[in-house]
């Protein structure tokens, strides 16, 4: 159970690096951004491919439509903004022009979740996974660190169909092997265990690793699975693991409503019922603070995961 942090990095930079690489390898890839090119780390792509980068201004609804139009003739548009402004603000544009229209648009969402930090609740979305996964045919991806985000960015270009790719602002441990291929829809088992399964996604994966190590020292055997693809969910992996452990904790930087936990609980209810605890936010907005302060305040850290594991084990 060793995970080597090669140095803290932000996942948005993983996206930027993946997009820059796509710019060099795939001539069909184009990019649009709504006045947040630096924040999204799309500037390298824009610098190297000015003819394939379209500045959309602070006009996200139009950007979604332009992306859909570009996709019709075989371009692969990556459209970027903050997670709240590229989901909730333009939900109907995504619903009609991307999801229902089945256009090959990659919706790239940075600053997702509460770890956006000091800007506060207007900019912190914890509803986006729910919104996006409700749309028929939408693929929803939430990688955990820089390397995985870079690999996911490259992988979604090869995938035909609408994708929601979610990443964030804070620097977090980078532990995914640099050469690990990203397989959309395939859950990644990080730790084998027998007492309880933790399904974690995004920034909560590292917190879950810390929690698993603490629990191990107390003699609790944790199975940890990184759900980087929330939709389509790797149901087989979920069922197989829970059939063995019989207890579940789901950890995510999102509301309970519409999140990974509810999704996993639904799969279990239909296949192999087991107690589930949620490490996520219950019906609240965020607020200003540092990412670390907010993760602690909202119970989105390894300490909360440890507590939830103990609670779920008591319900077994």
């Amino acid at each position: 159970m060793k995970f080597e942090n090669s140095g803290n990095k932000d996942t948005r930079s993983g996206f930027g690096a993946g997009l820059a690489e796509l710019g060099r390898t795939n001539p069909d890839v184009v990019a649009l951004c709504a006045d947040l090119t630096g924040s999204l780390k799309m500037d390298q792509f824009a610098k190297e491919n000015p003819e394939r980068f379209y500045q959309a201004g602070i006009a996200e609804a139009n950007m979604v439509g332009v992306g859909a139009g570009l996709a019709l003739s075989g371009k692969i548009p990556f459209i970027g903004s903050f997670a709240n402004f590229i989901t909730a603000r333009v939900y109907d544009q995504i619903r009609q022009s991307v999801a229902y229209g089945n256009t090959n648009v990659k919706i790239c969402a940075s600053h997702a979740g509460i770890t956006l930090g000091e800007d506060g609740a207007t900019h912190q979305t914890m509803e986006d996974i729910g919104l996006m996964r409700m749309l028929p045919g939408m693929t929803v991806i939430n990688p955990c660190d820089y390397n995985q985000t870079k690999a996911a960015t490259i992988a979604v270009a090869e995938h035909q169909g609408p994708v929601y790719l979610r990443f964030g602002r804070p620097s977090v441990p980078n532990f995914t092997p640099v050469d690990q291929k990203f397989e959309i829809g395939k859950a990644l088992k990080l730790i084998e265990g027998t007492d309880v399964t933790i399904f974690a996604t995004g920034h909560l994966v590292w917190e879950a690793i810390q929690a698993a190590q603490t629990l191990q020292q107390e003699g609790i055997s944790v199975e940890l699975i990184n759900i980087h693809t929330i939709k389509p969910l790797d149901e087989k992996a979920v069922i197989e693991s829970v059939a063995k452990t019989g207890a579940v904790v789901c950890a995510e930087e999102h509301l309970i409503a519409g999140g990974l936990g509810e999704l996993v609980a639904g799969v279990l209810a239909r296949n192999c019922p087991a107690p589930v605890e949620f490490v996520s936010v219950d019906d609240q907005f965020g607020q200003s603070g540092t990412p670390a302060e907010l993760m602690k305040l909202y119970g989105l850290d390894s300490e909360s995961i440890v507590k939830s594991v103990k609670k779920v084990l008591s319900r077994k």
Binding site: G57, A59, N62, G65, V66, A68
Partner: protein, 281 residues
């Protein structure tokens, strides 16, 4: 190539199709369909370079048309069927369960000629601009046409798209507005005035043409002028002055028939005013 007389015959038949489709479906949007009938007849039968038999969704090598005001499916499906995208007889299935001819345009049912979903208003101009940018990137010299409603132009996204089109010099798009002055709740001026619509488009950096949308000579001249303006750095908007429900006296000039089907009896009354020129479906 159709002359004015032939276009006039086609448009009369298209209006018959519209009336009969919405009457059969007991729902649909005849008013705006009939105000834009002459524009789309000219576009599909004379102006646009397209090959219905070899249609592909990527639009490569031919002009593309987007209906942004998606509720105008009766006129769209009629001109599509009459120009060969699918059998005219299929018009009878409009809005029926299982049909390819959904109430609003859908790409889900495999009907050729539809590039993108529409219906929730204000999105088509953005999509058309994207398609036009792709044509430029692919060195495809053909045009992208898109039709908006005037009421639809109350949507903020239309003006986001207006700024984007000017900023990126998308001068291979030819947008059109069916400027009939009516929307569901009343006249556009009474609901939310667009003010100086021509001035707005010009100030937003577009080349704007105003034309009579019921005179085929004027319509063709407007399209020729629009095509001449292409490649000069500005996108083009043609504001076609039209009349809601044009061609049937009791539907003309009122918002009453925006989204309502006539009774069988009223339909007959309307059909009596429109000569069957090409054979009903």
């Amino acid at each position: 190539m159709c002359d004015t007389n032939q276009l006039s015959k086609i448009s009369t038949q298209v209006r018959r199709d519209i009336l009969r489709m919405v009457t059969l479906a007991k729902s649909g949007h005849p008013g705006g369909s009939m105000s834009s009938t002459d524009i789309l007849t000219a576009l599909f039968f004379k102006v646009m370079k397209h090959s219905p038999e070899n249609w592909t969704r990527d639009g490569k090598g031919h002009d593309m048309f987007f209906l942004s005001a998606g509720h105008m499916t009766p006129v769209l499906y009629s001109v599509m069927a009459r120009s060969g995208y699918f059998p005219v007889s299929e018009l009878a299935s409009f809005r029926k369960c299982g049909t390819r001819l959904q109430g609003h345009p859908s790409i889900r049912k495999g009907v050729p000629g539809i590039y993108e979903a529409a219906g929730s208003l204000g999105q088509g101009l953005s999509v058309a601009l994207g398609a036009a940018l792709a044509k430029k990137a692919n060195n495809d010299p053909n045009f992208v046409y898109v039709l908006l409603g005037d009421g639809e132009s109350q949507e903020g996204q239309v003006w986001e798209a207006a700024m984007f089109g000017a900023q990126h010099k998308v001068d291979n798009v030819i947008a059109m507005t069916d400027w009939n002055g009516q929307q569901i709740d009343g006249t556009v001026d009474s609901v939310m005035s667009l003010g100086d619509l021509q001035g707005k488009w010009e100030k937003f950096g577009w080349h704007c043409i105003v034309a009579d949308g019921h005179d085929f000579g004027c319509i063709e001249d407007a399209f020729k002028s629009a095509q001449c303006e292409s490649g000069k750095g500005k996108p083009v908007m043609i504001l076609f002055k039209t009349e809601m429900g044009h061609g049937v006296d009791f539907m003309a000039g009122t918002c009453e028939w925006h989204g309502k089907a006539p009774s069988a009896e009223l339909c007959e009354k309307g059909l009596a005013q429109l000569e069957e020129t090409l054979g009903d479906f």
